[in-house]
């Protein structure tokens, strides 16, 4: 009897056939080898390059009674901290600064380990990949925050919030890191055993 593996998408267990596709959801459950690795690397590198404008450019501007003030992600965190909202400042800092950088770092380790298996054992590789896939979406926090602020603070000359180019760059970083994670699947036990 062939060993069963768990589909990374629908979490159902099944015995893999030649196609490597999950019979429940149709997703390819096995690794995509060098093609997937190359794709993940391309998405990851694009995200790294966009990380600089995402953090350096303002993500939103607040215009209040004729005075305009632009906020980057970091200055937004600092403002929350200064306002005494330490918990929220930590949440935004973690979601917007720690998670994307951590994800890209871990993705680099995962891709290196898939190329050179001695770097990391397969079970740890799968666990790391799972963590990255799980936390990835939380980076979208700042994009949703900017969108909501733009929608609710519309008082003309009295107070208006507008999105700035940094938000686009940051949104692109989040999407690219998610695509990079989705492009590569670590090898399952059957694949490791067959090597």
């Amino acid at each position: 009897m062939r060993p069963s593996i768990e589909c990374p998408s629908c979490r159902q267990s099944f015995a893999p056939d030649k196609s490597g596709r999950c019979p429940h959801c149709g997703r390819r459950a096995g690794p995509r080898g060098s093609e997937g690795r190359r794709r993940a690397l391309a998405f990851g590198l694009a995200a790294v390059f966009l990380l600089l404008p995402a953090y350096a450019l303002p993500v939103l501007s607040i215009k209040q009674l004729g005075q305009a003030e632009a906020d980057t992600i970091l200055s937004g965190v600092v403002n929350l901290w200064r306002a005494g909202l330490w918990g929220l400042a930590l949440v935004v800092f973690t979601a917007s600064m720690v998670v994307p950088t951590f994800k890209l770092g871990v993705l680099a380790v995962v891709l290196a380990a898939s190329r050179w298996p001695a770097v990391l054992p397969p079970d740890k590789l799968r666990r790391l990949h799972g963590v990255v896939a799980l936390i990835g979406r939380w980076s979208m926090l700042d994009v949703f925050l900017v969108a909501f602020l733009c929608g609710i603070v519309r008082f003309g000359a009295v107070a208006t919030v507008r999105a700035q180019p940094g938000a686009v760059a940051f949104g692109a970083v989040v999407i690219l890191t998610m695509l990079a994670t989705a492009a590569y699947h670590p090898p399952d036990d059957t694949e490791v055993a067959s090597r």
């Binding site: 069963s4 949703f144 969108a147 602020l149």
Partner: protein, 173 residues
Amino acid sequence: MKPRLRIPTSFRAPTDVSLPLAFTALVLLVAGLGLPLATATKFGAHNAGYAMSGIIALWNGGYEILAALVFACGILAPLGLVLSLCLLPIVARPGRRGPGWTRWIRLATWLEQWSMPEVQLLGVIVALSKLSALVTTKTGPGLWCYGLAAFFTLLAWRRFDAAAITGTPAIPA
């Protein structure tokens, strides 16, 4: 002869749990999208913020890609996922299974990856706290509905059994 109701009555156990959860999520999600998430007040002027308000503001401000991204992850994907979780167990009942269901389940799993109502909820909560220095804010019923919709979607997805739909026996891991 009595007229027979065309309501499926024999779902498999996991689907039985998933369906009411998904239906509750759908009702709450529709309410969350239609009701104001919060209201802002400044010098007597009021402004209600809906789930679509930010998307429209971004679009009008020239940030179409960002608007499309927020629409896709905050509205389209959650709605598509909940609708799939509601409809799949009903239309793909025993005797009516086909290869199309696998594709539909694949679409639902793809939508789940891009559906982020819980992240949007946290974004709105942080935004409301951030706004306290700028305007007076009051949470609206939409925020509660949207938050509960996110919770019920998560529960429905956790209990959703793709094997019961495709008819492929699941193998214990």
